[in-house]
Symmetry: C2
Subunit: 421 residues, 2 copies
């Protein structure tokens, strides 16, 4: 097991260990946010025939050569009509948007350019072949490849799949994340905190981080600080794709997480990343041989630090991109912006710091200011953080006014002030 890794190398090791999950078949109506695991070919031609793009009259363009002309109205065609009556030469058909052109017709004249008079219509101007007609196959042709693997299924692709009659779709499985907390001092949010007990808030923030990235959290509960209890919880999480533990704050002499994981067959890849907050991060993986009777690989495992802020920050840097890759996404990381630093920051060189910052727009630029004390126990600083400023490992000082790089956590910060209409 390696230890004391630079942050970028630790992240690389994590991402090398994961690949998109195998495919599953999912109802299209439930597939929002999922990622296509195979290409989609159209089983239909859309529109299936030439259809009208307007309300008006379907004609043969040659019949309008001497416009204005008056033509008899042979019949009416609505959307959804059968395309069974041919248009007689020298006649027009009343037609509506989306309706199939009758055989023989090759143009549509909008109703604004026509005047109806009983059985006849007076058409004021000539039309060219194909005018206001949407040709068959304009949207898609049968057999054509319309969506690529790796496509995120947003409203547009889902509408397209519906229009092709695809009520199921093959997507990457959704990562299932087993979450456990460990520590004799921890209680659930409605628990009794007298006598120094503290709420196991990590499981709640981690579950929310999982949901935001589209993964499915399975909260296992709070393990007591004994190897036996920890082992029982870890076993309960082995059927997940990812196991995330966050230690109680009582690490040190009583940190049983790593020995328990190894005893159960987890190969630990690294422990300790030169990052603050979050140094004690542990990463490993169960392989199939370790799991008696279980087919396939076991979960990858993240042992997050117990401090609430450290747990959230390490989740952001290591767990979140891994979950994105497992779900089949190609874009793994948060948006990153340049910002002007609103205050001077200093640290000892050696570890990369991720500083919780507020972001403000001033005179066309973004100003980043720390959310107050950077103590890793102070959850409020994380609750208020709109971004994480990257303070490089070898730097010891960032001066007020300098340009810095910020990972943007608050998507609303990127929203425009108006729609631009």
């Amino acid at each position: 097991m390696r230890t004391d890794l630079p942050a970028a190398e630790a992240q690389r090791l994590v991402l090398e260990a994961v690949a998109p999950l195998p495919p599953e078949t999912c109802a299209t109506a439930d597939a929002l946010g999922r990622v296509l695991a195979e290409p989609v070919h159209s089983g239909r031609t859309l529109p299936p025939w030439d259809i009208s793009a307007m309300d008006g009259y379907a004609v043969r363009a040659t019949d309008l050569g001497s416009a204005p002309v008056a033509l008899p109205v042979a019949f009416e065609v609505a959307a959804g009509s059968h395309r069974d009556r041919p248009l007689p030469p020298g006649a027009a058909a009343r037609i509506f948007t989306g309706a199939p052109l009758p055989p023989g017709a090759d143009a549509v004249v909008r109703q604004e350019d026509c005047e109806r008079d009983g059985e006849r219509v007076r058409i004021r101007r000539a039309a060219s072949v194909g005018e206001d007609v949407r040709p068959a196959g304009e949207d898609v042709r049968e057999g054509e490849r319309v969506l690529e693997p790796g496509t995120r299924l947003g409203p547009g692709p889902l509408g397209l799949l519906a229009s092709l009659g695809r009520s199921v779709v093959v997507v990457h499985q959704r990562p299932r994340v087993a979450i456990l907390s460990g520590g004799d001092e921890l209680v659930e949010p409605d628990g009794d905190v007298r006598g120094g007990r503290i709420v196991s808030s990590n499981s709640y923030s981690i579950a929310a981080q999982c949901r935001e990235v589209g993964a499915e959290p399975v909260y296992l509960g709070i393990a007591r600080d004994t190897p036996e209890d920890l082992a029982r919880f870890v076993r309960a999480g082995l059927s997940a794709h990812v196991l995330v533990s966050s230690a109680g704050v009582s690490v040190g002499d009583r940190d049983y997480v790593r020995p328990v994981l190894e005893q159960l067959g987890c190969t630990l890849r690294f422990w300790g990343v030169r990052i603050k907050p979050g140094f004690p991060l542990t990463f490993g993986r169960f392989d199939s041989r370790a799991l008696e009777g279980e087919p396939g690989p076991g979960p990858i495992v993240f042992g997050l630090p117990g401090n609430p802020v450290s747990a959230m920050v390490t989740f952001e840097q290591f767990v979140r991109p891994a979950l994105r890759r497992l779900a089949g996404h190609r874009a793994l990381f948060r948006p990153r912006i340049s910002a002007r630093l609103g205050e001077t920051l200093a640290k000892k060189p050696g570890r990369l710091h991720l500083v919780r910052v507020r972001l403000d727009r001033e005179h066309g630029e973004v100003v980043a200011t720390s959310t107050g004390t950077q103590s890793s126990g102070v959850l409020r600083s994380m609750a208020l953080a709109q971004g994480l400023l990257v303070f490089p490992a070898d730097a010891d000082r960032l001066a007020a006014g300098e340009t810095v790089q910020v990972q943007v956590l608050d998507a609303d910060f990127l929203a425009a002030e108006d729609s631009g209409l």
Copy 2:
């Protein structure tokens, strides 16, 4: 009723008609993405006492004046321990991260600076008062206001609420959106499309657009093209906050939507917006007097065009910001970026065009290129669109290479290529 409105004015009228929905009480564990409807005050002081920030030894700083010193180890304090044993003068207590400082202790020496020898510990250096101690109330004090109304409940605020023992929270109600399609030619995705029938894909793309913005879609189904059937469906949607209808493609002579809405008591505010795609957009609102026996206001109503692309684009411009405001969000709009236009675009002046574009990064700038035919029937162009280029109403030409404004639909486009670690 007004008609033929500029796009910006229509959007302003819509947003003036909506305000954040009333509050409801929601389980904190289910509140991800919801918006706080009232401030949150802390019912606790966190940490409740001075606690250790490190594994090490709790001491009186004055006892280390002549360091190195050897002190007897009086007892051990773990996180979650009671704070009942005072530290005798001239002694140290073994302590772990997060554990309460025993009365009398005022500093912690990290274990790296200590050497344990049976009942005693040798401490190599002096410590200042408060060193490696997290003071009581560092995170939050009882009664303090910790979260403001309007805060979006992401993982950070949810973790903070959990740590305060708040298992329920008061948030704005989630908008419920009744969706109906109208048109004799429409079938559900698994329906028979022979004879010119087409899939009602709008209800699927609109439901997905609602879910993406955090609203709850209620799909009412496909109404036939008769006033009676339409009225039946509209009535079924009156208990929602928002009613969204999308006409079949057969509008024109058989568009019953507006007369049916008015007959049921809806006051139409406008019809027809100088926008393409999407001109036939209709907006109105039921007021309480119109609804027999129903308390409170009725829903706001959007009549979207039937064309799949027009429906999605008008949803983006008008329905989405209204849903964001109803849910309590302050940021209503998509991120907007400047991009270089990859091709020359032309149109007649008069209507604002929203052009579906692909976005590519080239030499440090973003290039916007149309996704192909801009025919409003072509759903594929919307499925592939990463943004909507704003082609202003009074312009007739945008030249290749010009700087244009693009509303970004694809959040992944904003993702960084790497984490920046």
